[in-house]
Amino acid sequence: MTTATSAPVRHQPQRMPRAVPLTAARLLRIELRRNPMPWILPLIALLFWFDSYRPSTTQPPIWALRTFWNMGQGHTIIDFGPFVAGLAAWVGSRDGRRGIADLVTATARPRWAAQLATWAATAIWAVGAYLVFVAVMFGVYAHQGVQGSPPWWWVAVGAVAVTAFSAAGFAVGALFPSRFAAPLAAFGGFLAMVMSSQTGFSHTSGWALILPTNSNGNYQPLSGVFYPYLPDLPIARVMFLAGIAVAALGLAGLPAGAGGPGLRRAAAVVMLAGVAAAGTAVGLAGTARLGPHGMVIPALHDAASDRPIRYTPVCGQSAGVPVCLNPAYRQFLPDVTAALRPVLGEVAGLPGGPARAAQSAGAYSSGEGGAGAPMTISGRPPVLRMPLGSLNLPDVFGGTTAQFAGQLRLLSVHAFAGAGAGPGTPAQQAVQAVLLQGAGVPFAAQPGMLSSVGLPSWAQATMHEQATEQGKNHTPAPASGPVYAAARRLAALRPAARHAWLAAYLGALRSGQLSLAQLP
């Protein structure tokens, strides 16, 4: 018996660890050069300009408003995603369409690995173009002096969404190689986005918040101005979309020709991991609750996101009262001072009349649209605190200066009458109507104003309360009934007598102890 102790050690030839990455990099470079995605980018650029950028230019220069349509409601994704899915399906079906699947299966590299390089090239072109287009759009916004901070998290969601579309389209092409793979992938993308919009508009909570077109409760104007955009929901969306991308790529590696058994098992694990990530994200979105600054997902929430953004207000004067706004709302200062002037002039000298008016942040509220916080008068000296974000700001979603002024006056006198977050007592409603008329809103126009969009729910409640008394529930009723009868009596007094009565009875009115019959 011999031993091997004296046998010379056989050195294994040194591996070349860099060979595989280099080969992969070379393959990727070839695919990048041959990829058809650049051919379609001019068309996408045109559509991006038409559908994402052009409508946004009519909005005021505040990031959350300017980007509501294209980022908040996901139109940049709608412009990119389906086309990317179609092109990726065309690229993914290449080997099958040309009948060379068997040929490439016999090459040195597993087919799935080569397909991943092909997909990566498509995704790099698509995501790169998305980021460039968004960067150009944001650059134009910045040049136009848009105020607040950009919604960076939504950009990340868009980039991952484009990646997911490319992966899903590629999988469709790889699994069903046909000339119809591209149009069907694009059609599926459009249908998915339309259905996502349908669900997004109607669902304010639950799993549907995961949809990138759903702006409910996560894209209101206080974000980026008073508080940072809460990243909770975007993080869940990134996880969801990345999970879809990973699952689709794993799916492409499952067919028999994709590689050896080990590789196919790995593809199955990858696919399951993707499905798990997407499912977890949907579950997380289901736990979201609406906080004062947006959607909060407890498992993802960072308290640092709740810190307010510091700012130096811009101020003007209205009837001798300082009126201060967040600098992002600088362009609305003349409208606000003009709207408040008749109200502040009317209540000057009365107890509780505001010595100052200041914009407040407001709060997110699903039930109130964006009007989660009421306008209040509080403190010593009294300060009128105005959340402006949800009102019909001039030139925002069709809002006009007259509508904005009317709403601001209504909310101010509502706060002055002490009605709080509800419709108030009939006496408070009557005094509110009188003060409004004094501020330039005639009785006849008041029911219509109460029904206008953007007001807190008490406005609708007030209108319905007054209409119910006449048996009318659903349309703005004429300004009649006991409330308006009392208001007309009070309005018929001489200004000095009305002022004196208000000075004497404001305390009782605000505490809700005054009835309609006690009005003069």
Partner: protein, 226 residues
Amino acid sequence: MTAAGIHRPPGAGHARPASRRALATLRLAWLYLVSRRALAAVALLVALGALLWAALHGNWSVAGGAAARQLIPLVIETGAAAVIAVTTFGPFGDTERATGRWLPWLRLGTAVLLTAAAAGALAAGAAGGHLPGGSLALLRNLAGMTGTGLLASAALGGAFGWTGPMAYWLITEGALAGAWTTPWIWPARPARDLGGALCAYGVFAAGIVAVTLLGARDSGRRPAPE
């Protein structure tokens, strides 16, 4: 021996029976349809008709006004137009162009037949519920979108013909949201509007002419990108 004295090919003296000629024509048309995957296209069009039926029967609609309610039927019509557009893609290129004078007629016939099949499938699907604008608007929208697809095929290649209807849908969606009324956005016009119909059927005619005379870009001397 030379062939100098032969003026007619052998057998040319005997006229082929008309039935054989008809059979040959049918066979040519059939082979052309097969090369364009027309049967698969018809199956997809039927599936899209079924999808439209399900959408209307299930009251799928995007929240909003009358314009928003059109979006899902329009997406399905877009899908049908995209399917028709990619059937123009031919794998044979110059070889096919050199074979005879029938090619334009085959292109024309295929495009018209498939558009008719799409109209039939979608009209049947429209029986599932209330379709905004009715069958008249459906026909107009489908014709116009098919026209954009055929034009895109002629310009970009049959494989990319689907981009035409998809791009048009995206423009229409933005235009509907902005309440545009130009006849070039024909889905925004009433079903019996003459301007919208002229534009839609005009685009369809232009697409048919382009595909008949030029063919899809990748089927001849003008190679498509890939």
